[in-house]
Symmetry: C2
Subunit: 224 residues, 2 copies
Amino acid sequence: MSTQKVQIVEKILDANDQLANQILKKLNDAEIFAINIMASPGSGKTSVILKTIEKLKGEMNIAVIEGDTAAVTIDADKVTALGMPAVQINTGGQCHLDAVLMEQGVDALDLSDIDLLIVENVGNLICPASFKIGTHSNVVVASVPEGDDKPYKYTNIYRGIDVLLLNKTDLLPYIDFRLDYFKDGIHALNQNLKFFEVSCKTGEGIEDWIDWLREKVKAQKNHR
Amino acid sequence: MSTQKVQIVEKILDANDQLANQILKKLNDAEIFAINIMASPGSGKTSVILKTIEKLKGEMNIAVIEGDTAAVTIDADKVTALGMPAVQINTGGQCHLDAVLMEQGVDALDLSDIDLLIVENVGNLICPASFKIGTHSNVVVASVPEGDDKPYKYTNIYRGIDVLLLNKTDLLPYIDFRLDYFKDGIHALNQNLKFFEVSCKTGEGIEDWIDWLREKVKAQKNHR
């Protein structure tokens, strides 16, 4: 990249981060805990969200912001079918959510009535990693069929996350997936992340993830 | 986007397309048929390439350009282990190959000795769709575990391709995947594409794909 191009990119990222900080402040003021879920297309982001709502819907209010590159409401419809508010953001082909789009989503919600805000980013393991959107935790949903080498190939996103869910563990008997190799790859990049092995299909492992989330939502209330 | 930003983006894409045309001409002069394989991370691009080499290695010379966002040679090593030349391109975090990177890959190969050039693009269903790299056919490898709704969500890439391989059909018994719904989604976007259902694990369906490729490589020789 030319020096000029680098400077323009840095300026865009600075402006994005400033807006992300404003959004984070707004969410803190409303005592909302927010997560940014990133993943490859088809790893099961929406399934994780639906499972999470199903488990927590009696205890707290959850809202979802759905980022999609096209004008489809498939995922948002599934959330509203469970009785929770969902905002659909069409990025118009853009490959990630940024703070500007996130602000539109947040402004479309009634923040006074939300405990947990889940953002489903665009399905992409690369670009979303570079854009803060003002959430408290960055979460990646990986999945067994994607293969055990992904942490070695998509280093940027694995390096910057707080939580990793390995989904579709029910498919382990049918797929060559070396769990140790996968974990070694992650550990080399990121030693502080919480790791959950889950299957949205069978429900296995979901409770640990729910416990972690419940704890975070509670801490966000007590913190104020 | 501001008008200025749109103009800059258009200028970048114009320059890219011009270079892509030069690369295509160079490949035509060398009587090489070239394909650009795009997919989500983990859909099985590399497995398709390895299977293709395995089937065709007695008949023709194949070279592979591997695009990765990180400095890993996992995929390139698998290709060279099969006795075919592979060039590894590290995009340095960039989410797609473009014509500039492609040119570096092509220039690193001895074109006089190649019949089929396979480019494995960066694992990403969005960004690679916008950048021509000078190949003859754009191919997407989708996979059963990704889900049947992907053509509805990632419309841009499905609209612009010539060939679609649906991989991992061996997992159909274990996954809810409506083949009709998937095909309807594709048909609504793109009525001219060749569609192959394959399993790199069992080998099922691979012969049809190989026949198509063989035909294309032959036509490229006869065309000159």
